[in-house]
Amino acid sequence: MAEGGRDLRTAFHAALDDLDDRFVAAGLRVAESLPRLSEAFLLGDVSIIEQSEFMAWEVASECEQIEDDGFVLLAREAPVASDLRRLVALLRMTVDVSRSASLLRHACLTLRQFDPRFLDPPLRAQLEELSRVSTEVFVAGLDAWRRRDALAVNEVDRADDAVDELQRLLLGQASNVEDPGTELVVLGLLARYYERIADHGVEVARDATFVATGQRVLVGRTRLPPFTRQDDDEDVDTGNDVDTGDDGTDDDEGDTHDSTDPHGAA
């Protein structure tokens, strides 16, 4: 830890940078796969099933390794302040990237059940739009992290609202089909998968803000003032007198934006 001349903790920072680079590489692997696989998916290309499985396995393995190395770094170096925040954020975000890869794989696996080429043109267009916007949100989240852009989360969160709206539209349109069957079930799942991928993008942007400012910003449903939401006064009984706060508006409030997590789901 002392090598590197006069700079303090040079080796630690190098290790942290390396971890960060590996995380971004894993994220970019998903970001690159999203438009490519989504496009091939809409063309009914079943060969992407194998590709997506390999991609998800690679990303999950890398994220697991990053997590392990991150915890070793935590144990050996006992980082504090912004270094600790960065490491904590990296450990959290590996879950987001790994899950996004898994969700994309689940989306591709639905090709075994139906062929998107035979979807009604309006439904197909909706699905295409949903996959496109979800990809944009995920990439924007990753970019926010790479640029340490503390303000990007607001923009990314707004884009995520558009994904939620598109999801609703798609489901609404799908439920009007005359003979619901496999198509409707699969569309429902696909809409959720893409929505969750976008949610993970928002999470990454949120962690970028956490690292830059130390604040946990509210996104999605929880960013609304409590009086516009459901009654928040009811505490969950933790059985151990944990201080659960008062009105859910603390800066460190956890993420509660609408997310569904199909595993497909987390």
């Binding site: 450990l91 699969v186 569309l187 969950v236 151990n240 460190d252 509660t256 569904t260 199909p262 595993h263």
Partner: protein, 239 residues
């Protein structure tokens, strides 16, 4: 050379000196409190699922609002526990088993947050099914799977509280059963012929499957914390 006993330690300020002669007893005590909080939080998550398990009772119209409010609170508490855990890591630099336990706890918090949210989603879609008179469509599978998934998660929390590292095998076997039933529910959704029901049934199946997965994940984290071996969930039940 100075003996550590000669150092002017203030017992009020040094957690490692609390707890008598045991090494790091203060850290262990703080970890124990955090763990108890986590178990309490997990019980709160199970409470959210109470309407899901009550298969013979119609869901109240307020069930979703209740579940969402409780789920929001779970997120808040989980975030605070996570902050407390990382603060403890930063202050105490635990290693070996101490570190594994802390990491397992941090990972488990994520599972609790997600499960709370999933429970709310299940209730949301069960209400949809209820509204379109779901009773005729695969109710047996739906009812059984609801109970199986939530029970599995509940048992995983018990295993965590009991420090039962072997429970993961049993949990994984039961998860396979949940997966099988969820696949059956997807098939029923395809066949049911009613648009609103089909989509809701598919999503409920997915969410229940994930609740069970998070239960297995709790077992995996616990097993790792105690033994140091990372059990693959897909292999756990075959041991």
């Amino acid at each position: 050379m100075t003996d550590s006993r000669d150092l002017p330690l203030d017992p009020q300020r040094t957690p490692w000196s609390a707890g008598g002669g045991r090494v790091r007893a203060g850290y262990r005590e703080q970890l124990r409190v955090l763990d108890a909080d986590l178990v309490g939080l997990a019980r709160g998550v199970i409470n959210i699922g109470a309407p899901i398990v009550a298969t013979d009772t119609a869901l109240a119209s307020t069930a979703l609002a209740d579940a969402e409010a409780q789920s929001d609170q779970v997120q808040i508490v989980a975030t605070r526990l996570e902050d407390a855990a990382f603060t403890l890591v930063a202050l105490e630099s635990p290693v070996a088993e101490d570190l594994r336990e802390m990491i397992a706890l941090i990972r488990a918090l994520h599972d609790l947050e997600r499960t709370a949210r999933l429970m709310a989603h299940v209730i949301e879609h069960l209400l949809t099914l209820q509204a379109c008179g779901q009773h005729a469509i695969g109710e047996d599978d739906l009812g059984c799977t609801r109970v199986l998934a939530v029970d599995l998660f509940s048992n995983a929390v018990d295993a965590w509280a009991d420090r039962d590292a072997l429970a993961v095998n049993d949990l994984a076997l039961r998860d396979a059963e949940v997966d099988r039933r969820c696949d059956a529910m997807l098939d029923q959704g395809v066949r049911c012929g009613r648009a609103g029901c089909a989509a809701a049934l598919a999503l409920v199946a997915r969410f229940l499957e994930r609740i069970a997965d998070h239960g297995v994940a709790l077992g995996v984290h616990l097993s790792w914390a105690i033994t140091g071996d990372r059990v693959l969930p897909e292999l756990a039940g075959r041991r």
